[in-house]
């Protein structure tokens, strides 16, 4: 494909020119010639597990979130370029979850869809993947999203029973069937429910974070304060109507049910620690400064500028770029949820930006300790030099720009839905902010994920 490989005798002048241009583009990475704009988003309020959505499946919730988006932007019977969404906790019947949700929605049934799964980064990754397709000219419009239900979680039968049932299916005669059934033992009947434990360490996500929290000496007070701010900021955002065009109620819920608008630092300080109780140091992580299991769904409408303009739709922000990273948490080199610490410097370097160049930071609050450990790592000169390969610390995040409309500690965290929640909210904040010092307002998103992964992204006001 390269010009150098072109057979002799072709129009070398043209080829030489094209080659130069192509390499310039390659230098910039996959930028494409057009931008992917965020038109808006819609999510259903997030509900604590076992609450308002206890009878709702992933497909129900994703369809509801889609239908709200369709109603907000008048997309009925529209053939969208592609819809991508996913869920972390998935039933086997949900093998084509997103496509099934599309078929149940008011979109054109000719809209293609695919499922994606990258643990808690699923939602953000659907945005980045679809934005890239738009930038590359493959599609003109897209809907990204995610959904999760911890209430309607799949429960598998035990491995022993599963093998017996499969053998039963293969048995031909009644005698054979009875023989197979006779193999069932009481222990086989215990169900196999999903948990948040890491397969390679056996530790839950909370216990992993407790290790990191202790490593970075994050205090109980700092964690409680972050949680308090999350609730206060989210409540204030609701009060001023910030979510009026971001949320559509579902099953009688108008607001995130985890939100405690009246919580205080005193109340948070009385909660007993739940993670890290066996680490020797003081346990600091409580139910108040950790996200609860949550049900919910979120969607984001992406498009080219032309597509949005031709329909009179808003252009809130553009998806500038994204980056994924992973850490070796298995051998304890880094904390399970610390991958964004490495993704962000790489993304900033690609664009010649520093933390000073951002107006908003959306750092997903898996745990208060995750956010604070991340910030501490970026502020640490030694870490910056030895692990990030910088001259010193990456920099400081201005706390007045951090999660200013609340984040997962208050809203809750239905794993795959969090990315959509953050992208749509940040896009609206950037649009409201407009320009800063002659440049578009800029926001940084950081989402950590199970498996030691993390995905980060930059959005700019459109």
């Amino acid at each position: 494909m390269a010009a150098a490989d072109a057979p002799a005798g072709t129009n070398t002048g043209t080829n030489g020119f094209a080659s130069a241009e192509r390499s310039a583009e390659q230098d910039k990475g996959i930028q494409g010639t057009r931008s992917a704009v965020i038109v808006g988003g819609n999510r259903i309020p997030f509900a604590r597990t076992g609450g308002a959505y206890v009878k709702s499946s992933n497909q129900d919730m994703l369809t509801a979130a889609l239908d709200g988006l369709i109603a907000r932007f008048g997309l009925q019977d529209e053939r969208i370029g592609e819809v991508a969404a996913g869920a972390v906790l998935k039933h086997s019947r949900d093998f084509n979850l997103t496509r099934e949700a599309v078929l149940g929605s008011a979109l054109s049934p000719e809209t293609p869809a695919y499922d994606l799964q990258q643990a808690c980064a699923t939602g953000l990754e659907t945005v980045l993947g679809l934005a890239n397709k738009i930038k590359l000219g493959q599609i003109e419009s897209a809907i990204a999203g995610g959904v999760d239900s911890a209430s309607d979680a799949p429960i598998a039968v035990s491995e022993g029973l599963r093998e017996i049932l499969l053998d039963l299916n293969r048995a031909k005669t009644s005698v054979q069937k009875l023989k197979v059934l006779a193999r069932i033992r009481p222990k086989d009947l215990a169900p196999d429910a999903p948990n948040t434990g890491e397969p390679r360490t056996g530790l839950s996500m909370g216990e992993h974070q407790a290790l990191t929290t202790a490593q970075w000496n994050i205090s109980r007070e700092a964690q409680d304060e972050l949680a308090f701010n999350s609730h206060r900021n989210l409540a204030a955002a609701y009060e001023r109507g910030f979510f009026d065009d971001l949320i559509t109620p579902y099953r009688g819920l108008n607001r995130d049910s985890n939100l405690r608008a009246d919580t205080t630092l005193e109340k948070l300080s009385t909660l007993k620690p739940v993670f890290g109780k066996n680490l020797g140091s003081e346990a600091t992580m409580t139910a108040g400064n950790s996200t609860p299991l949550t049900d919910g769904a979120a969607t984001v409408l992406l498009a080219t500028e032309e597509w949005a303009d031709s329909r009179g739709l808003p252009k809130l922000a553009t998806v500038l770029d994204g980056e994924a990273a992973a850490v070796d948490f298995v051998h304890g080199k880094d904390g399970l949820l610390m991958a964004p610490v490495f993704a962000v410097p790489r993304l900033l370097a690609r664009h010649g930006l520093t933390l000073e160049d951002f107006d908003f930071f959306e750092i997903h609050e898996a745990f208060a300790g995750t956010v604070l450990s991340t910030l501490a790592a970026w502020e640490d000169e030694d870490f910056g030099r030895t692990r990030l390969g910088l001259d010193g610390a990456l920099g400081k995040v201005d706390r007045t720009k951090l999660n200013i409309n609340g984040s997962s500690l208050a809203a809750g965290h239905p794993f795959a839905a969090t990315g959509g929640r953050i992208v749509a909210s940040l896009a609206k904040m950037l649009h409201e902010k407009g320009a800063v010092d002659g440049r578009p307002a800029r926001g940084l998103i950081s989402v950590c994920a199970a498996g030691g992964q993390g995905v980060v992204a930059i959005l700019e006001a459109a």
Binding site: A64, D67, G68, I70, A71, R72, F73, G74, Q76, D77, A106, G241, F243, D244, D245, I247, T248, P249, Y250, R251, N254, R311, G312, L313, P314
Partner: protein, 446 residues
């Protein structure tokens, strides 16, 4: 929202029993379906004025089966009584008694429509007496009709022709199933503005209409009806009703705008949404309303203020924004939902009646302000309408409320929506500052 009684007495044994016992016998009303004829059966146009002749010619042009004199024993779809030239009460007897002889031939769900002139434009006491006499005559006749038939009147201001656009628009509305639950009412035509639709099934084609309170009940029916008539609909409701709003929006291919109309910037938000998304704004239907019923003796400030804020203060503020907007200057329409409570009063509803009476005052006072750019503003006052709200009334009270009208049944949300869709159309351009009751001629109130 089924009315089991109406079903019971419409057929078979139930019909016989009800008849023998002298019980009310409501029938299923003829309601508009797209593509349905204006009216079936011959239309008797009675009257010997020039206006009557012109009207008969126009109706003939619509393909209706016109009679100028009744034929013996022939069932009539409608009777149009043209009394535009009547000068004295003594002039009434001949045309009135003539149609009297045809009353028994009026088909079920038939129509009687008078065309006369407004009292205030009468040149002399005798003509004023004759014109006011028609009012009493028509309201009484409406109470005599049976089997879903209705009687309504068209009042022409000053020298307006019987064939002026909105007179014809009103005549079509009254003849059709769109006016199923409008009975014993008058519509005043105050100008020669307006035009009949190019496509009678899509009278709102190309229009962008905003409906507040569109998530359920009457508001959802309004959105569906405006969409059926060709409009692009923006559906507004409070954020808390967003799920129902989205469902209706997706059904009518409109856009949902979650917005509390009591916000200071509600008018701007509505205009911006309509213009940015759909390029224009033609119609605003103020339907959003709440009830907080209490006897005045038990009324608290919260109940009183919230009803005033939502039902009238928000409308006033939004209208101010609309009237000041350059985007609301091309023959725009405002239609407000009032209530018969605001006209006749209702025990336990001092706050609600004050707000709905306020709507009527606002409509009358705003009409002249919209005249210069061909705009109109009108109100529709529903009576007992079968909604989720009235379904929750105690059985006996609900049954009583349903029957105390000339049609012996409650109306459907669609009936209110049809009246609003008509007032929002180009055909109603000559009608402004009016309050049209959709109440089956409820026995209380004016």
């Amino acid at each position: 929202m089924t009315d089991k009684y109406t079903k019971l007495v419409s057929q078979g044994l139930g019909k016989d029993v009800a008849k023998r016992l002298g019980l009310p016998q409501p029938v299923e009303l003829r309601r508009h379906q797209p593509g349905a004829p204006l009216i079936t059966g011959p239309v008797l146009v009675n009257g010997d004025s020039r206006g009557a002749d012109d009207l008969a010619t126009t109706l003939l042009g619509w393909g209706l089966d016109i009679r100028r004199h009744a034929l013996p024993k022939e069932k009539l779809g409608a009777i149009v009584l043209v009394l535009d030239a009547v000068q004295h009460p003594e002039d009434l007897h001949k045309p009135v008694l003539a149609i009297g002889a045809s009353m028994r031939d009026l088909a079920p769900n038939g129509r009687v429509i008078t065309v006369s002139r407004t009292v205030k434009s009468a040149p002399a006491p005798a003509s004023a007496a004759a014109r006011q006499g028609i009012d009493g005559l028509l309201r009484s006749l409406a109470k005599e009709l049976r089997a879903g038939a209705t009687a309504n009147g068209i009042l022409l201001d000053a020298d307006l022709a019987t064939t002026s656009p909105s007179a014809l628009g009103a005549l079509r509305f009254f003849l059709s199933g769109r006016s199923a639950y409008v009975d014993g009412q008058f519509l005043t035509i105050s100008s020669s503005s307006g035009s009949l639709p190019f496509d009678a099934d899509k009278p709102l084609a190309g229009k962008v209409a905003v409906v507040t309170g569109a998530a359920r009940g009457i508001g959802a029916a309004i959105a569906r009806t405006l969409h059926r008539d060709g409009a692009k609909v923006v559906l507004v409701d409070v954020p808390a009703a967003g799920d129902h709003l989205a469902a209706v929006a997706n059904e009518v291919h409109g856009t949902a705008l979650q917005l509390d109309i009591t916000r200071d910037d509600a008018g701007h938000r509505i205009i911006d949404h309509a213009v940015e998304r759909h390029g224009r704004l033609d119609v605003v239907v103020h339907n959003a309303g709440i009830t907080r019923d209490r006897l005045l003796a038990n009324m608290d400030e919260g109940r009183w203020q919230s009803v005033i804020a939502v039902n009238i203060a928000a409308q006033l503020r939004i209208n101010e924004t609309l009237l000041a907007s350059e985007h609301f200057k091309d023959k725009p329409r405002i239609v407000s939902v009032a209530s018969t409570s605001g006209i006749a009063g209702n025990r336990g509803q001092t706050n609600y009646a004050a707000s709905k009476g306020g709507v009527i005052g606002m409509v009358r006072s705003t009409a002249p302000l919209m005249e210069s750019f061909g705009g109109t503003i009108n109100a529709v006052a529903p009576g007992f309408i079968e909604t989720e709200m009235t379904a929750r009334m105690p059985f006996a009270i609900r049954e009583a409320a349903r029957r105390v009208n000339s049609l012996r049944q409650g109306g459907q949300p669609q009936d209110v929506a049809e009246a609003i869709a008509f007032l929002a159309s180009d055909a109603a351009g000559g009608i402004s500052g009016e309050v049209l009751r959709v109440c089956g001629q409820q026995l209380v109130g004016a």
